[in-house]
């Protein structure tokens, strides 16, 4: 693991009110690598992902202890602007959630928030992100149609384009392909392999083959704890813990 460390959590513990959803998680994410988070439903993968870009801030009773570092700086530090963090750490949600706007305005949304008004620059960057998300050819003639008129798989790639448009440094993906058909899934996987060249990617998935296909590092969570983390090959061929092996071979869910 020679790449530079981009993000990390140190002894991070997370509570929803009195319920401890994550217990003492220490994990590192390196540049230009894909880290897959796996584990049974309810083990805290989404909670973990959402605490990296502080999306959990909007949940009233949520509480974070420990550290979340971005380039060595604590994301939850007192002088940190959460809006800045979210611009640097982009997110793609499990369910496609395009805005009820035109395709163009959907992708341009984050750019406009960043203060870009110049029409030419907006156009260029929208086109570049739609190309990066491998959806340009499908939408280039209908940029002024509603984003809601796209199919689910197209909507998800649009959401990826939207996240990429603001040029984040880290991209968080919460089961981005869980609701998609095999062809759309394959497109998204190719896309992730491509994106890794320029971004740090952290992806939650329930699909073991998918984790094996696209990730460099795999982390296995169980009941709010990080059980094992290693190179993806190692996790899938000779995991050091029996619990991990049972999970990836499907002996418990």
């Amino acid at each position: 693991m020679s790449n530079k460390m981009k993000m990390a959590t140190k002894n991070m513990t997370f509570h929803y009110g009195a319920f401890k959803a994550l217990d003492d998680i220490t994990l590192e994410f390196r540049e230009n690598q894909v880290t897959a988070l796996i584990g049974p439903s309810g083990c805290g993968k989404s909670t973990f992902l959402r605490s990296l870009n502080r999306m959990n801030d909007i949940i009233p009773a949520a509480r974070v202890e420990g550290q979340v570092l971005l380039d060595g700086e604590d994301v939850y530090g007192p002088n940190v602007d959460v809006v800045e963090i979210r611009k640097r750490v982009g997110m793609v949600f499990q369910k496609p959630n395009p805005f009820p706007k035109t395709i163009f305005n959907d992708v341009a949304y984050g750019l406009r928030i960043k203060g870009i008004k110049n029409r030419g620059e907006l156009q260029a960057r929208v086109e570049a992100s739609l190309k990066a998300a491998a959806i340009w050819d499908e939408v280039k003639d209908r940029l002024n149609e509603s984003a809601l008129s796209l199919s689910g798989g197209q909507q998800q790639r649009l959401c990826i384009a939207r996240a990429l448009a603001i040029e984040p440094e880290v991209v968080l993906m919460d089961e981005p392909a869980s609701a998609l058909d095999p062809i759309a899934t394959q497109k998204i996987e190719e896309l992730i392999r491509e994106l890794k060249k320029s971004y740090t990617i952290i992806i939650v998935t329930h699909n073991m083959q998918q984790a094996a296909r696209i990730s460099n590092i795999t982390a296995f969570f169980y009941m709010g704890r990080l059980i094992e983390v290693d190179k993806t090959e190692t996790i899938f061929t000779k995991p050091s813990l029996k619990q991990t092996e049972d999970y990836i071979t499907g002996r418990f869910g």
Binding site: N53, M55, I58, P60, V83, E84, R86, K87, G90, M91, F93, K95, P96, N97, P98, F99, P100, K101, Y109, G110, I113, K114, S146, L148, S151, G152, Q155, C159, R162, A163, I166, A179, L180
Partner: protein, 299 residues
């Protein structure tokens, strides 16, 4: 008879029962409208439609009488317009505050208070306008009477705010959490999220709320009867008194001889009012369809 047959008969009866009830209410409505037209149309034997709608003199008891309802129409429109200028910003902003910004504890108090305003009988609001607002306006602006457009508009706004606020709030509330999250995750602030995503996404609901609030104001009788001043003349300033259509009907119906021209003219005024509120409701309907955002993610 087996169970499936029984169930089918049961469902058939229930369906017909609902159809029957729906038909009854439509028939009653149709009868009211028919009656309105039957009692109103005869005025046009003595006055032409144009003179009735655009005549500037309303002296229904003079000899010969003048039946021009333009002052009444203008009166209605102007109090509705001024009251919406007050009620729309108040209603919409309070809805945004209650639904998006207020802490849960504040929200729990504010929401029932706004809704309580809707429960105030209009005669109480009118009374407040007469006894409190009128002397206040008279003193502050040094005008001959406090019973005028401003007063009526403020009182009507008090009635329309709860309608606009709670309907707008429903519309805001219906905006899916995923959309807010999408916006926040792109580095938008809470305010940018509200103004660029939540409000536009609830536009159809908010417009409907505004128009329904206004249509309530234009049809409202008791308040304008009590505080608009009752002058059947086209106003020159917002401190003039006016006589909106519902006030005119309510005040004069008792003294108009049965089936006299005056009586017919009041019903015809009712027809005009009916078309205006109908128009408002059609516009509300149109807007809510036009801006309706179809579907969530289709998978």
């Amino acid at each position: 008879m087996n169970r499936a047959q029984k169930r089918r008969i049961g469902e058939y009866l229930i369906e017909k029962w609902f159809l029957f009830l729906a038909t009854i209410s439509i028939i009653v409505l149709a009868l009211i409208v028919a009656f309105l037209f039957k009692e109103g149309i005869p005025i046009f034997k003595s006055v032409s439609v144009g003179d009735f709608l655009f005549g500037q003199l309303w002296y229904p008891t003079d000899e010969p009488a003048d039946f021009g309802i333009l002052p009444l129409i203008v009166g209605s429109l102007i109090v509705t317009a001024v009251s919406s200028m007050i009620a729309v910003p108040l209603g919409v902003l309070s809805a945004i505050y209650i639904s998006e910004i207020a802490r849960p504890s504040v929200k729990e108090i504010l929401k029932p208070v706004v809704e309580l305003l809707a429960a105030l009988p209009s005669v109480v609001i009118g009374f407040f306008g007469m006894v409190v607002m009128a002397p206040f306006l008279q003193k502050v602006f040094d005008i001959p009477t406090g019973l005028n457009i401003v007063n009526a508009s403020i009182m009507l706004a008090m009635m329309a705010v709860p309608t606009i606020s709670s309907l707008t709030e429903d519309a805001l509330h219906a905006v899916r959490r995923e959309l807010r999250e999408a916006s926040l995750a792109l580095g938008a602030t809470q305010w940018e999220t509200i103004s660029r995503v939540v409000v536009p996404a609830s536009l159809s609901g908010a417009c409907t709320a505004v128009i329904l609030g206004m249509s309530r104001a234009i049809g409202e009788t008791m308040v304008v009867l009590m505080v608009a001043g009752g002058a059947a003349a086209i106003p020159e300033s917002i401190f003039d008194s006016v006589r909106p259509m519902p006030a005119s009907i309510a005040a004069e119906m008792g003294e108009a001889p049965f089936r006299s021209d005056h009586y017919y003219a009041l019903f015809a005024t009712g027809i005009v009012l009916f078309f205006m509120t109908l128009g408002f409701n059609l516009i509300a309907d149109y807007i809510s369809h036009k801006y309706k955002q179809v579907g969530t993610a289709t998978l």
